[in-house]
Every structure is written in structure tokens, then in C-alpha cells.
Symmetry: C2
Subunit: 205 residues, 2 copies
């Protein structure tokens, strides 16, 4: 037999990619290391060279995939908007317009894992919570900027609104997964938009 | 050995109570029939007399516990309010005021199971979805009543607002589970209250 030379970084990235898909579809507790190994060309022994335990693999999914996707989807694009409130509304609309069937079936990975794992494993919960905090803090920063630039009413609390926005996003994703229909996302979109316009200063620019 | 005479209905109800606690704390996939049986005085053989499969037990949790609790918490109490919109706001406030530590740790059962199970098992998903629909339809009915009685603006869509309210509730419960802190529930409460007041007719009865 010819022993293949492995690139450890590539192999690790491949395990994470495969594991993310499996966990996303079946839940963390619904997937075994055997399932994941079976979808790679690794042996179980080789797998454990990369991740000592199934939980370590789960933590890597949060730290390396879910954090990145969350910030890239909801925070980084806001830099392009003069009025961050319009940016938040616009990104939510674009997300719904282009939402995948997979998302309607399997839902939001951070939501799934938080509901499933945060009470079961404290470290899992803490890692998911840190992503949730980054998301909220990112929005809070942009809402403070909006307030300083005269787009958000002075009496509004950027932190509370940021928490509300994340709750609406997560809640609507959970509902869409239950309905398997993006229609319920639009209900949350229109109501959140109206709410954000109600806390916006009327003067435009 | 003395064979105890069992009351089948009582035994069944006891299994459901024990199973609900276990599933609520560990997730459906994180609990085995063995775990549940161990918390009763039944044998595994006797357990299967009541529920042929673990999934059948799960379906009974949704049909018999989660549906009842959802309607009793969020819909039935609205009958006591002249203005249903004030009822919805008031029930959300009372829920947060009296929320248990268990709820902050383990979250909302319908939310947990929807995120965990609806993509994994179609029948589970359909049963959870039917509870979600009852919740939304219950709110929709009261919002229609509010509209007919002049409390909700004529141009507002009761169905869309009902979907938004459930999304906010579920999203805030998910966030509270991540933060293990009711503070984030209050952020959603205040924003939802302000939103609902913005779609209310100003004239008070």
C-alpha cells in the first residue's frame, strides 16, 4: 500500500468541513465520530490525532466556523453603510431573499447548538455564548455609531436594541425551521424594520 | 415477590413526567430509554408496554405536555383582557418576572426540540410545528379581535404580527439560555412592547 502524504492543516480543515455538515443536519448528539470518520478517508486512529475528543471537534466548529460565519454575515458588511440602521435592515432583507433550502430545513447553526448543547456541556455553552456576545457587541457598536451620527434616537439604548435584533433574527430562524417556509421570515423582517424606523431620527442625512 | 397492581394511566403519566424532565435537561437525542426507565420503578419491558419506541414517547411529550403548557401560558390567559394587545404585553412581562432558573438554564422546550429534532425526524417536526401553529393562530385570533374592537390599527396584519411575537418570544428565550440571564429577556420585552404600542390605535377604549 502506498502511504499518502497528508497535509495536516488541509486534513484538519476537511474534518471540520465534514463535521460541520453532519452536525448541522443531525445535531451534535445525533452524530458519532464514526459517522464523521466514514465521510473522510481517515481511520478513526488518524482522526484522534486531530481531535482528542468529540467535544474538542465541536468546540472547533464553534470557534472556527460559526464565529466566522456569524461575523461575516451580520457584522462586517455593516461597514459599507453610512446609516448602520439601514445596513441592519438591508442585510436582514438580503439574507431572506437569498436564504437556502438547507437553512429552512436545518436552521441556524448557532441557534441549534445553543438550544441543544449549552445546558448539556458548559464549555460548549460558553463558546457559543461568546459568539452570541460578539454578534450583539458588533451590533451595539454600530448602533452607537448610528446614535453619534444622528440616525438613532438619543433616548434609545444601543445595547438593548442589539439584543432585541439578535433575538428577532434567532427567533425568526427557529420559526422558519419549524414552518420550512421563508414566509415567516418576512413577518419578522417587516416588524423589525418598522420597529427600527420608529427608533430612528426622522431627519435623513 | 409481591406484584404491584399498577394503574396504567398513572404509570403512563409518571413516565411522561420523568421523560419530560430528562429530555428538557439533556435533549431528546441525549437521553436513552434506559435513563428514563432508571428514574421510574418500571422494568424496560414494562416501559415498552406504554411506548413502543423512544420516538412515540417523544411525540407524547409534544402532544400532551408541550401543547398544553404553550396554550396555558400564552393563549388562554388572554381571555381575561379587554384589550388583547395589553394582554400579550402583560403576559410576557409576568412570564419574565416569574421566570425560573431552570428556564434560564434549559430554555424553552418547544424551541429546544424544534431546533434539535425537526430536521432529524419528520413526525417530530410536524407535531412541534402544529403546536407552533396553534400558538400563532391563537395570537392571530386575539389580534383580529383587537382590530375589530379598535385597539389594533386597521392596516396592521394580525397574522404577521402574531408570527413576529412568537419569533420574539422564542428568540429571547434562546438568548436567555445562552446568557443564563433574564436581563436579555427585558430587552426583548421593552422593544416588543414599544412595537406593539406603535401598531395600536392611540384612543384608549
Amino acid at each position: 500500500m502506498v502511504k499518502k502524504t497528508r497535509d495536516p492543516e488541509k486534513t484538519r480543515a476537511h474534518i471540520i468541513e465534514v463535521a460541520f455538515g453532519e452536525v448541522y443536519r443531525k445535531g451534535f448528539q445525533g452524530v458519532s465520530i464514526r459517522d464523521i470518520v466514514a465521510k473522510t478517508d481517515l481511520t478513526t486512529g488518524a482522526f484522534f490525532h486531530y481531535f482528542a475528543t468529540k467535544n474538542d471537534l465541536g468546540y472547533a466548529l464553534v470557534d472556527e466556523v460559526i464565529k466566522k460565519v456569524t461575523l461575516e454575515t451580520w457584522i462586517f458588511p455593516l461597514a459599507a453603510y453610512k446609516n448602520p440602521i439601514q445596513g441592519i435592515i438591508s442585510r436582514y432583507r438580503k439574507f431572506i431573499e437569498t436564504v437556502s433550502d438547507d437553512f429552512l430545513t436545518y436552521g441556524c447553526a448557532i441557534n441549534n447548538l445553543t438550544q441543544e448543547m449549552s445546558a448539556v456541556d458548559a464549555e460548549f455553552g460558553e463558546k457559543l455564548h461568546s459568539v452570541m456576545r460578539l454578534w450583539i457587541e458588533g451590533l451595539e457598536g454600530y448602533l452607537e455609531k448610528a446614535q453619534n451620527d444622528g440616525y438613532l434616537k438619543k433616548k434609545s439604548d444601543p445595547r438593548k436594541i442589539a439584543e432585541f435584533i439578535v433575538a428577532v433574527h434567532e427567533g425568526s430562524f427557529g420559526l422558519a425551521k419549524s414552518f420550512r417556509d421563508k414566509k415567516v421570515l418576512w413577518s419578522s423582517y417587516y416588524s423589525l424594520r418598522d420597529y427600527l424606523e420608529s427608533v430612528s431620527e426622522k431627519s435623513e442625512g
